[in-house]
């Protein structure tokens, strides 16, 4: 294990405890693990900007950065213990919860649409789409959401969608639209999306109505 990385994680845990409750603390540490592993301490401001955005800009990032820099130069015995066991427990709990929730009718409607679209794509297009989606999702979804959505796309299992609210799923749909535009071109994308939505509305008008919240 990279000692520098462990030190950074402990420093973040030490400082952010003053600002965040346990649930948010776990989220913040997961973001660190997913996106900032291996980066130098000097790049810590990028991480703070990201989690400030994640927590809707309620944190005083300037002060936190100063505190972090102070803490990082201390002896390691002054830092809080490594929070990795806590993170592992949280991740295990989250994985077991995935299948506890059932997708709503709205989410099932969205799932029908996405499945329909993915079925239309050839194997080569699907591969390109997944590459594009991976890039886009990594930019917009953090803290384990990325993994869930990636697993959803691979498995085509709607239960992965159950943990998301409308806003997140609308974002997810937009990411899929953008990736399709990049891979298939805007004209074919509009045609595919248009015909899939039209078909759902024709077959099941209630599901068609439900889709509206994500479009």
């Amino acid at each position: 294990m990279d000692q520098q990385h462990v030190l950074q994680r402990r420093a973040i845990y030490t400082v952010l405890q003053e600002w965040l409750d346990e649930e948010k603390m776990v989220e913040a540490l997961l973001v660190f693990e997913e996106h900032h592993k291996g980066k130098p301490s000097i790049a810590i401001h990028e991480y703070l900007t990201r989690i400030n955005h994640l927590f809707e800009q309620t944190m005083d990032t300037r002060q936190i950065r100063r505190r972090l820099m102070e803490v990082l130069v201390r002896r390691s015995s002054d830092l809080a213990p490594d929070p990795m066991p806590m993170l592992q427990r949280a991740q295990a709990r989250s994985a077991s919860e995935v299948f506890d929730l059932q997708p709503s009718a709205d989410q099932m409607a969205l799932h029908t649409l996405i499945s329909e679209l993915m079925r239309k794509a050839s194997a080569g297009q699907r591969k390109q789409l997944h590459e594009q989606l991976a890039k886009q999702l990594a930019k917009r979804f953090v803290n384990g959401s990325y993994d869930l959505l990636a697993q959803y796309l691979i498995s085509d299992n709607p239960q992965y969608l159950a943990r998301f609210d409308d806003r997140a799923l609308q974002d997810f749909f937009t990411v899929i639209y953008v990736a399709c535009c990049e891979v298939l071109g805007p004209v074919m994308t509009d045609q595919w999306f248009g015909s899939a939505v039209f078909q759902i509305r024709q077959n099941n008008s209630a599901a068609g109505e439900r889709l509206n919240r994500y479009l």
Binding site: T174, C180, P186, V187, G194
Partner: protein, 428 residues
């Protein structure tokens, strides 16, 4: 008083001098010409919205509509003074803000010039269509009409009330505005598309090859092209500012160049073994019209045909060049107004009747074209860049997905026939 009036007449450019006076026929002609130029906005609206996807049609029309409204007011209040006010330095006019005139003719002149300013402004709307936010675009249009266009205009046409623009002093000739109106508008559009970026999926991310995004209504495109052609008779022939015997030749040159532009496009596409598209053909005509605008009064019809023909060819070559550079001009406005405008301005010097193939004049014309680019492009780039940073210029992915009709205006252009239900149905 009479002596003062005579002195002012001496200072004015030749075409305006001749027009000053109380001849009612001149006023009637200029008002009709102004109405024709205004009608060109209809052409722009139809052409640009027809070349856009149905989910963005209303947004394109709204931009055309509002940039006339806002642009006219800001040009009346500010731009006219900068462009035509007393121009002692040669670089900008500095009088006649919110103008009040003592003579009726000046009001007629102001009306005509307002329509020109609106034309320069509206060029960017098509190039930036389908991904530009409404508010950001309108603020940009205000800056173009209030500052960028009139400042350059003052260098060429300035000094209606005293003084003279420095390019005009140099001998630069641009009768009706191939450069002053069209190229300046096109360079602003170029800056706009560079700041706002291409439409989603316009270029393949791996190969960089441009993907065709066809418009939703080619009949509207054709109708818009015809209307623009009609309006151009007012644009070019109106620039005489008087009803005299030169109108016929100017209108004839205008017409021939438009025809030749379409033929030039046809030939270029055929020689390159590409399909001859309606949109390209109409843009070819418009390229011919833009090209002849600078020299329509000073060329013989033969040279008007050559000018128009090459204008049409340049439109095609320019379109491919932009695609190669991965610049997304949604309607081909930059090749039409920019590249054909530059060619037309050079041709006006080179094919000038009575002074054919004068290389010195050609050099002066080239200086004017370069100066137009060096002024308009950076000024517009800075404007759009600031707008992007301050209020946001590019529509979000979600808004582009839904279409700007819905996301910017909460209405749809084609509610009954909507075959792409990619956005929420409107409430009620």
């Amino acid at each position: 008083m009479k002596q003062l009036a005579l002195f002012l007449l001496v200072l004015l450019p030749a075409n305006t001098q001749a027009a000053v006076g109380d001849e009612p026929v001149n006023t009637v002609w200029l008002v009709v010409a102004a109405a024709l130029v205004f009608f060109m906005q209809t052409g722009f609206a139809l052409l640009e919205s027809g070349m856009s996807r149905s989910k963005n049609a209303v947004n394109v029309v709204m931009k055309n509509y509002m940039d006339v409204c806002l642009g006219s007011m800001v040009f009346w209040a500010l731009g006219f003074g900068i462009m035509f006010g007393i121009n002692e330095t040669g670089f900008f006019g500095a009088s006649h803000w919110l103008p009040q005139f003592t003579d009726e003719w000046s009001y007629t002149f102001l009306l005509f010039q307002i329509m020109f300013a609106a034309t320069a402004t509206t060029i960017a709307s098509g190039a930036m269509a389908e991904r530009t936010r409404y508010s950001g675009y309108l603020v940009g249009a205000l800056v173009i009409t209030g500052l960028i266009y009139p400042i350059f205009g003052s260098w060429v046409w300035g000094g209606f009330f005293g003084g003279k623009g420095w390019l005009s002093e140099l001998g630069f000739v641009d009768f009706a505005g191939s450069t002053v109106v069209h190229s300046v508008g096109a360079w602003c559009a170029l800056a706009g598309i560079m700041v706002v970026g291409p439409r989603l999926g316009r270029f393949d991310p791996v190969t960089g090859v441009a993907r065709l995004i066809p418009g939703h209504n080619l009949n509207n495109v054709a109708l818009g092209g015809f209307i623009l052609w009609l309006g151009w008779f007012g644009f070019n022939a109106g620039s005489t500012l008087q009803a005299d015997s030169s109108l016929g030749k100017i209108a004839l040159n205008t017409h021939l160049a438009a025809c030749a532009g379409a033929v030039g496009t046809f030939l270029a596409q055929t020689l390159m073994r590409k399909p001859v598209l309606l949109t390209h053909t109409i843009n070819g005509s418009l390229g011919g019209l833009v090209a002849i605008t600078a020299g329509c009064a000073t060329m013989s019809p033969t040279y008007a045909v050559i000018t128009g023909l090459l204008g049409g060819v340049l439109v095609i070559l320019g379109s491919y060049l932009l695609e190669l550079l991965q610049l997304d001009d949604a309607v081909g406005a930059i090749p039409v107004h920019g590249f054909a405008g530059v060619w037309g301005t050079l041709a006006a010097g080179f094919f000038m009747e009575g002074d054919l193939f004068n290389l010195q004049q050609l050099g002066i014309q080239a200086v004017g074209c370069v100066v137009a680019f060096l002024w308009a492009f950076p000024a517009a780039f800075l404007t759009y860049w600031l707008l992007d940073k301050l209020i946001g210029l590019r529509a979000s992915h979600l808004d582009q997905q839904r279409g700007l009709d819905y996301s910017e205006h909460a209405e749809r252009g084609y509610p009954e026939f909507d075959r792409l239900p990619l956005h929420k149905p409107l409430a009620g």
